[in-house]
């Protein structure tokens, strides 16, 4: 029978039909991965040809060096032959290649090992995500309930936690956050003053920049910017700490030692952030007003004492209280988001990373949503 035309590099692979009806695959030259793996179309065609070949044989006498490239090719050829029920005689192959191929086919493919790749239809996916959202919400509520119980135990003095953890967290979340909070709030004050100045100058009312900055910082920006910084700085840290403790079984160890993780890990973090967030917000307010004053005095040529007077007269205890309430609420939410995502974390390195990311996103969503709710409530009660 005539040799099948050779499309691929003729020196490497050629196919022939022997007089006995065997398919002979002649391998020659270099068969390294770097040389590429030739397509198996012709071989499959030859295997499918009628009359069917009696068996598949190899002639590798001219084969030079080979590696995985050859094995990957032959393994595919073997599968194709098996699918066509053509017997394979591997005796012509180099000894090493024959043994490796035997090893690769020694264990049959496990049933169910291959993942089902079919995608469910749109409605099914929509339904699944809805169920997921409901499940998440339930988990969040359950977590909130457990936190409430932990605070109940704290109030009755039955919580098992260490004061030293609390003070350490206070230091980490409070004092160590001062530099970044200083920078951001100073700049926020500067930005507020700039934006306000451009508008107010048109009315010759530049002095009201002081009011704008003072009220803007105390009622809104001080607490919110601090909270956003804390979400990125502390919320993520909480999630990563707790997630890592889950990976290393530390949380399991706490449970079996009779320390509820809620008391021992979540309580001190919540308390620390509830305490530090308002303090940081006050600090942010001061720095923001300082930033505004720098712009007012040096760019708008307002008198320092004039600016000071305008600032102090514009903010009352109400604005201050409004900002502080927000700060406490944000503190609770940032700590809650960080601890929730940390305790929910899976037991792997990537899961801890996902938990930290999710903590920041959750915290920022919580902050903005609660901020708008509080602002509406303030408006209703006239705070």
């Amino acid at each position: 029978m005539a040799a099948i035309p050779q499309a691929h590099a003729p020196e490497r692979l050629s196919l022939a039909r022997s007089p006995e009806g065997e398919l002979v695959l002649t391998l020659a030259g270099s068969w390294r991965l770097a040389d590429g793996i030739p397509a198996r179309d012709e071989i499959e065609q030859a295997l499918a040809a009628s009359p069917a070949p009696t068996r598949l044989r190899f002639d590798a006498r001219a084969l030079a060096e080979w590696d995985t490239g050859l094995l990957a090719f032959l393994s595919g050829v073997g599968d194709a032959a098996a699918a066509r029920k053509v017997a394979v005689d591997a005796s012509g192959l180099p000894d090493g290649a024959r043994r490796l191929l035997a090893l690769a086919s020694a264990v049959p493919e496990q049933k169910g090992a291959r993942r089902d790749e079919t995608r469910p239809n749109f409605l099914a996916r929509l339904g699944e995500s809805a169920i997921d959202v409901a499940g998440d919400l339930r988990d969040e509520l359950a977590f909130l309930g457990e936190v409430a119980l932990a605070f109940g135990r704290l109030a009755t003095g039955r919580a098992r936690w260490r004061r030293s953890d609390f003070w350490l967290t206070v230091q980490e979340t409070g004092i160590e956050a001062l530099p970044i909070v200083s920078l951001i709030s100073f700049l926020v004050g500067v930005i507020l003053a700039f934006v306000g100045a451009i508008q107010l100058q048109q009315f010759g009312a530049s002095i009201f920049v002081a009011n704008l900055v003072a009220i803007g910082m105390t009622r809104e920006m001080g607490a919110m910017m601090t909270a956003v910084i804390m979400a990125g700085r502390t919320g993520a840290a909480f999630a990563a700490q707790l997630g890592t403790m889950r990976v290393s079984e530390e949380i399991d160890a706490l449970k079996t030692m009779g320390f509820p993780p809620m008391d021992f890990l979540v309580l001190p973090r919540m308390l620390a952030l509830m305490l530090m967030m308002p303090l940081l917000a006050i600090y942010a307010n001061v720095l923001g007003m300082l930033g505004g004053a720098v712009i007012g005095v040096f760019m708008l040529d307002l008198g320092p004492s004039e600016y000071w007077h305008q600032t102090t007269s514009s903010i009352g205890i109400q604005s201050f209280a409004a900002g502080m309430i927000k700060a406490v609420v944000f503190g609770v939410l940032v700590a809650l988001a960080g601890c929730l995502r940390g305790m929910q974390s899976g037991r792997s390195a990537s899961a801890v990373g996902a938990a930290a990311t999710s903590a920041v996103v959750t915290a920022i969503v919580f902050i903005i949503v609660s901020d708008s709710i509080l602002t509406v409530i303030y408006d209703l009660i006239g705070l």
Partner: protein, 263 residues
Amino acid sequence: MPDVTPSETKAPARDEAQIAVRGLTLAYGDYVVQRDLDFSVKRGSIFIVMGGSGCGKSTVLRAMIGLVEPVKGEVLYSGESFWKADAAERERMTRGFGVLYQQGALFSSMTLAENIGLPLEEYTDLSAQEIREVAALKLALVGLKGFEDFYPSEISGGMLKRAALARAMALDPDILFFDEPSAGLDPLSSRRLDELILELRDSLGATVVIVTHELASIFAIGDDSVFLDAASKTQIATGNPRELRDHAENETVRAFLRRGETA
């Protein structure tokens, strides 16, 4: 090392079943890990939970110490059901456990002395100075004298396991649980840990439950055992590991226990 036969070195009340596992079935969602487990652990004995990788050994341990709730069946401690008890009762039982986790699970933010001192602080009225002394003693018992102020990240894997063992022993537990104690240890460190377990069992009179697939440990210290099978998802043999090696009827068990032997 001479062949240790702990079954003859131990005296009091050996026949009493301290832990009884009855019809225990464990699952994650719909996926059954192990079903219908039934075995007893005698007081003062060293009990091995063995089986191939991924057969659910660690999950069984986690169900015994209260971390994974079983779908069916129960775990009895001195006749009292663990999973049917209320939270307070369960906590009281848990206090009698010492657990050595696979990765040690020492609290990374605390020194070794603080790790060991934590349960003492909570459950005893000892002063800070006394707690430190007890912690130093526990560390000395596991061969880590002088390492009180080291953090877990500053010591080696073998030392970590020993320190975790010291913490597990902090409250002189009745039952010590070990999850793969020799995982990640070289053969010599692993052998030393076995000897330490044996020594502590003999001196403290504690009951020991070990989850492992390490043949050397199984034969060196195991008094009794249960063999969990991954394929049938249940136990396929119970008894003394050495007897199982020589006389087990089940092919899988024999093959497992004789692996690595030239015979």
